[in-house]
Structures are given as C-alpha cells and as structure tokens.
Symmetry: C2
Subunit: 149 residues, 2 copies
C-alpha cells in the first residue's frame, strides 16, 4: 500500500522516547508502552528487533529496561524504520539488479530510483536528536499559545 506499517511507526516512537530520556538509565517497556500508546506485548517484539539491529541495548532483571545503544545524534529516522521493516524499496524493481527483468528497457525504473533517493534523503536527514529538539520546540510553542488563551 506504499505505507509505513505499525512496526515502523511504533519503532520510531520507542526510539524517540528513549532518545528523549537521560541516557544511561534503562527505561521499562511498560513506560514506553503506556506513554507511546503501543500495546505492550507487541512492543516487546519490536524492542527485540531494535536490540538485534544494534540501535537499542537491553538489560534484564531489576533495574533493567532499554537504553539507546548509540548517541541519538547518530540514529536516523530511516535507520530506525529499516531496523523493523527491512530495507525500504518503493518498488520491487529496486530490491536488487535483476529482480525485475524489465529493468534494462523500463523507462519507469529510473523514476523509482529517483523517488527512492529523495525519500531516503528526507528520512536519513533526520536524527533522533533532531527530532527531540523539534519536539521540545513544539512543546514550547504549545505552552505559549495556551498562555495566550
């Protein structure tokens, strides 16, 4: 459907939430689940994938939970999405050379390449640190407009 799935959406919420917390202190899955409105048992699977892909670190037992495995400045939106959705390919013909045998003569193929390049540009151009900053700016504006009322 050419649309992000919940997996991707939830992964972004989770990683962004971790990025917004003081680093080092593990965050419980319950806290992520409740604050980000993601079913806990489902989120559990997503967190596992994020751990496997090396974006998030986990610790079991008391004082356990999840933290970012790397600084928020180094984690992009695209990376986070691809960690749980697999590599983004807007069309099957972009999966790899030869996947679609019409590549050689198909005039649409280069258009998809360009479209994908532009999309990647946007998603790779935003780090979790950027998004935390953006979020804080939005909060600031919301507070101001509430004061005016």
């Amino acid at each position: 459907m050419l649309q992000l799935t919940r997996n991707g959406e939830y992964a972004v919420r989770a990683v962004l939430f971790l990025a917004s917390r003081p680093p080092g202190r593990p965050v419980l899955i319950t806290e992520i689940s409740e604050s980000q409105e993601v079913p806990k048992s489902y989120l559990s699977k997503i967190m596992q994938q994020l751990v496997h892909s090396g974006l998030v670190r986990s610790r079991r037992g008391i004082n356990g939970g999840f933290t970012l495995a790397r600084p928020a400045e180094s984690i992009t939106l695209k990376e986070t999405i691809e960690a749980v959705e697999g590599p983004i390919h807007l069309n099957v013909c972009l999966i790899r050379k030869g996947e679609c045998h019409r590549d050689d003569f198909c005039p649409v193929h280069p258009v998809w390449q360009e479209a994908q390049r532009r999309l990647s540009e946007v998603l790779d151009g935003k780090t979790m640190a950027d998004l935390v900053r953006d979020g804080e700016a939005i909060q600031g504006r919301l507070k101001k407009s509430r004061r005016k009322r």
Copy 2:
C-alpha cells in the same frame, strides 16, 4: 511494507503501453496482457478501475478495446498509480488531519509531510508522454550498443 503493489505496477505498464500506441485505435486486453506480462484476468480488473477513474476509455465488441481517455501529456505517473491504489499516504498520520491524535505534538509528522511532498514531486513530474520518450531513448541506446558488439 512501504512498497508499490502489483496493482500500481500493472496499471503503469498498461497505461504506458496505451500511451505508446497510436491514439484512437483501441488496443485489446490480450495484447496489453501479453506484451506487459500481466495475467489477463487480473489486468481486466485493473483496466476497469482505470476506466472508472477516467484515465482510460473502453469499447466493447468487435474493434473494441482500450484507449487513453486523455492525451498522454496530461497523465502523470502519480495519477495512474493513485487510480488503482487510492491516494498515496506514506504514513497513516497523513491521511487527514486528526487521523492521528498525536499530530499536534509529534515531531515526526512534519518529516512525513516533507517526505510525501518530495515523493509526489517526482511521481507527478513524469507524464506518460515523458515516459514514452524516455523509453524510445533507451531503445535507441540499446540498438547502438548491440551494433557495436
């Protein structure tokens, strides 16, 4: 999966094929199906959708078939895809305002807006006439390189 479905892919092939034929003379679904490698019975459904959305005109009976309903210069790639896949929304939060109640404070929302804008730019910037021209250019290059061998 953030990927075009066969519906979209097949629709593009069909419309592009019609655009490459001399306008006015109806093309049989069998010919489209075989040349574009799309199952005929499946293609039938897609052609119906293209007719309903006003991109293609159909005629039944002898000398029937399909033609473009409008000049190829006026039909974009995006239009063709959306005719069979519905409007493109890279994320559910882009479907309409209020679809995702986190819009107001979600710092990721504007990124999706931008990503979608960029994608639309590319897909809307290519008309079927453009693609036919591109295809001919590719054919030309292929012939030349074959001659060199």
